[in-house]
Symmetry: D2
Subunit: 394 residues, 4 copies
């Protein structure tokens, strides 16, 4: 990777092949023994196989319950930031603000705790060398300005996310919205403390209920992505559709919300001629929790065919998988009653992650899948979406 | 169906086509609004679409937790027996002893509460008319003599189950073990009260721990089926292999155990020329919790192909699906760590039912699947088996 | 008990002591091995120790989770009604409508599954013999007309409950509101089906969300009791205080709500000179979940002192205990943060029942306590109330 | 506090009052907003109210589930050690080995997440100044040599703990076993990895099952304390009584076990004339989960009387409370059936902590109580023990 960073010679000999200076995206899917175990990443850094300074984002699945009292996310994040602070010499608090680390708790059923590290060997240069051909998968990130509590879940929130998505696209060197494959967003929500501060300043929050606020934030995040990608118009009149008209959605947005952030964190993944490498990404909407065909659809552009399951060789080409899903609000899946929403013992999100996780893992033959609930306006109502990164594409 | 029960005329006119007097199996998959809701069955009985006296077995999935304190099974059984007692005029207590009603609690994820009613229009007659051709799917049931507590989980238990399987095969008119498609067994286990009674009589039970005893009973049930079907030899030396050598298993046994029975209840399903109708059954072992290929294998002999999911027309041909599965004892599925066995919040069996249920439901496009945990010696270690009944076969 | 029912001789000899014909209340606290086990009641009926026709109400604690998917209540109720139908010759469906059977699921911690059977030897006669002196604890029940879905949780609901409480007071022969010791109410709530029917008829329901609707129904029930007992004025303007101003409450109401009823069921317990016997009842509000003093306060009028725990002899005098409680909405108990409302693994009502159950059971030295959550407007905000019936009072 | 550490003058003027150079124990009970929140301790250190170097032990209650997958303990420990490393300049890894940090996860019901910090102003000097009078509560800690996996749960383990208790007594300057008030121990258990290593070296572990191994380790810890305190003889023949004869127990031991330690960590609290200050400690065995009287018994020597609850003034004198308890193995509490051991939804330890926590908190009027399950041989069978530290004793 370091070789790629070597500047091209000032006056290249036209007879020699041009050195390709475009950046490469690295995607490492690593396992963990517990939420505080970053040893696999530490080993890669120790071995020089990865440079801490190249890491731009982490998306992971920890083994908590995925709810308000899931502290595996905080534990992992604290451990990650301490490791990167040690290796980069930058303060952990700064890294925490700048480096998107988006975690989903809950490894129900066959899901396996793991995290995906995104590193890039440089930034795509708009004025630089542009190879012909389709390019490769690249990444860009952005963090918005802190969002005031009274804006959470409202149109100002939608626009804040849309702006951050556009900034992340620029960071990724992706000009066309159709080249964006997948957008991962983390949005702030209203906490009791933030609601009180807003009230003291004369503002009104949409809701002070934490769980409800998280849902409104996810909806705003999804609408923000949809606007930035041209899937929905930037029409403030659509605010009434949020958490109401579920036929409006982004087919490429995966949004989470948490009390621990005050700004919107955005990761854009997409294809661009300004990147090189063998990574590509596919994404498909899931129409419901049984939409096995959506997995096949996401795999198809990657040259991967599950008949019915990926071969071992093809499974080895898969670098990362991301899924959004939800228990159908209407209490039925394809006409058959489900019991997820009425179970006092197991949270509905844990139910749906386990079921859709089993389905997607069955196609891929691998339980290392990021599956996240809370899919409001992220894919079709009662469904969600599935995205896959594969290597070995040329 | 009644017409089939009319005795053939004493001296048939050879010019007339022979009436086919072989019995037919009826398989009805019905939904329920709650564990005490048998209204769909009552409606069928009311409409004369089904005769209460023809019902020989019920296998169902109720929406409890599947554990010791799952009372949805008792609730459903009480309601069923009261309904059938009313309609047949036979005492509920008698029906309870004679009619296998095998329930698995827990409809995690996309699984839908439902029950499968097996009814037959008569018994296959060994001396009667035998059509040429392959015949059809038939059913037989048997209930063993009560099993003394000191025998539970031991070789005497194995033999008791094996004898009951053979009796159920005779009841089904199935002569060849290779024609048996699937055997569902419910075994008694040791309770504290039964352990004390055994001790008072000078006997020793294998274990007085209820959960452990259920596991030993399931193992004995699986070995019993395996012996009856010729999958294992009737060698008492194999007793040491129970719950120890998991390479020994039946590929067609699904066994549960419960405190509510004192005898082994057996349901045999298989193909025989002594049955008519359009039902057939396929069964395949699952090598692990990600074995999507096993579902395809079970569907193949039924002329059903999932590419990757059954078409709506083909899904309509599916009459019932039965799955056995378990969280891998070794803590990994295809090399990736799973967390099912270490989760203090969600029972491991609930985890695995949700995941494998999602996988199988994804292939079939339907959540009405009987998925049961506790798969010791029922299919490969860490896996289990999947069985499908389809109609429309001729 | 039968002797008490013998009519007094037409012309009593003034020299003979007058036979006391006032009715007696019997309170039987019985255990169960599982939610379908009514064997202790059946044994009492078999032995003639209790007459099925005398039973007027049952309040019980079953071992489910207390949530929407707790079917132990339905299982117990079905078993009870079948038993009483068999013993009284009246249809189970009729008994179900007329006999209040109010169950709370969830026996967390030291709580023990049990049920309290209320039987009376006759009805108090307004025109009959009235002994001087304080009388004894008596009971009255009432079932309102079915409540239309659009009224649930509104002032019409409040008035419907208030009327039913007054009817139950008359049934109990209790004239003065201050003689009412405790009122147990079960209210209908809105279900999806009832909401649709109301909408089709041009009506609007307060909320179609089942859990929210149950809360509004409990609030209406508590306000209804408060109005009937003179704790609050019958002022429709108070409708806005429901689920909003928690300083308004009844100190003697215990209300539950369920999808299974369409009318308000009311049980009134109170003291009256028209009853004889040695039963008395005490009731005290709990100011928070740590209010141990409230238990002492409820015991005091019964001549019971816990120093710090009831003696065995005194504990034997306790016939039944009823507790209402709730996790403090504000997230703190006496200034210390609690985690009940943020626990994704255990429902908050299960948390609080276990904790308050442990506290009250500790004072009484007995886990057979009816503890129910959902205490909106039933006792002080964040607290609830505790009521005790004792025998041996003369 | 520093002044106390000033050495006494070599030749004190007999006319001047002697400076009391004996060390003081400080006990700080602090709250936390989440398991990674040590801000209250940091504030005390910032303000100079506490010196990081004086801290010798921490015992805390975090809000996880208390089971194998409770990572709140690891998160808290990592955060604590990072804070103390920063403030003392010593490596976190060293502190982790030397400073006992014993956590119990699970704040069920009214229990409040908190931690107790033990700091001492110096060490008691055996040769130094000895004031007359009763002295005060002091502390000593010890960490044994690492325990080989094959010894876990066996007599060698018992002796290792006993030796560590004696070392901690010496560290505390407590000579007489009757002056020891309470001993908190954390023992290593066998993990799969340690079992394999032991097997490779030709050794046999008692059990490789993690949960079972933790129970054997707690039993060994309890026996070790009992031997060191003279409650049981050091007789290897007693090994058979471990987890078998529950009439053998220590009335002052609280033991936990965890995969994260390889050596036994011991904290001894007791009274000694070599300590000064106003802290005292009481401890009483609980005979069962309803033993309210035990709390009164533990409070009595502290001059605290609950009638029935501590007054606010007296509650303010309580510095820390520690409770051990367990769900009765026999399925009943004072004759009434409990359901803790049969609940597939809620772990039995969570049940019992919530119930006993509610009882003890009710007496104290405060939910900041350390309640831990797994009380094998720690107090009477089916019960446990309760210990209280109070200030304001002179």
């Amino acid at each position: 990777m370091d070789a790629l960073l070597t500047p091209a010679p000032a006056a290249p000999d036209p007879a020699e092949p041009l050195v390709d200076t475009r950046p490469t995206l690295r995607v490492q899917r690593l396992g963990m023994a517990h939420p505080g175990d970053l040893s696999e990443l530490a080993a890669l850094l120790d071995a020089g196989a990865l440079r801490a300074a190249d890491i731009v984002a982490v998306i992971g699945k920890t083994e908590g319950n995925g709810g308000v009292n899931d502290f595996t996310r905080g534990y992992f994040t604290q451990t990650l930031m301490a490791l990167l602070a040690e290796r980069t010499g930058r303060p952990a608090a700064t890294l925490l603000r700048e480096l998107p680390c988006i975690l989903s708790g809950g490894t129900e059923g066959v899901l396996s705790p793991h995290y995906v590290v995104f590193a890039r060997s440089g930034r795509p240069d708009a004025s630089g060398h542009e190879a012909t051909g389709p390019g490769a998968l690249g990444i860009g990130t952005a963090v918005s300005a802190p969002l005031a509590a009274q804006h959470v879940g409202r149109w100002a929130h939608v626009r804040s996310v849309a702006d951050a998505v556009r900034a992340a696209m620029r960071d990724a060197g992706i000009a066309r919205t159709e080249d964006v494959a997948f957008v991962q967003v983390k949005c702030p929500c209203v906490t009791a403390a933030r609601a009180q501060a807003a009230a003291a300043a004369g503002h009104t929050v949409l809701t002070a209920d934490a769980n409800r606020s998280m849902a409104t934030a996810r909806a705003a995040g999804a609408f923000g992505v949809a606007i930035a990608l041209g899937e929905l118009p930037d029409d403030a009149g659509l605010e009434a559709a949020m958490l109401s008209d579920f036929s409006r959605f982004s087919a490429r947005a995966s949004v989470s919300s948490g009390v621990e952030v005050e700004a919107n964190e955005v990761i854009v993944l997409g294809h661009s001629p300004r990147w090189q490498g063998d990574l590509r990404m596919g994404c498909a909407p899931m129409r419901d929790a049984l939409d096995l065909g959506a997995v096949a659809q996401a795999l198809r552009p990657l040259g991967l065919t599950a008949e019915p399951q990926l071969s071992e060789a093809d499974a080895a080409r898969v670098a990362a998988v991301f899924v959004k899903c939800e228990p159908d609000r209407r209490g039925r899946v394809r006409g058959a009653r489900h019991t997820m929403l009425d179970d006092t013992d197991i949270n509905a999100q844990r139910h749906i992650r386990g079921a859709v996780g089993g389905l997607v893992a069955g196609v891929l033959g691998d339980g290392r899948i990021f599956v996240s609930g809370g899919a409001e306006h992220q894919g079709p109502d009662g469904g969600g979406l599935v995205a896959v990164i594969a290597r070995g594409m040329t």
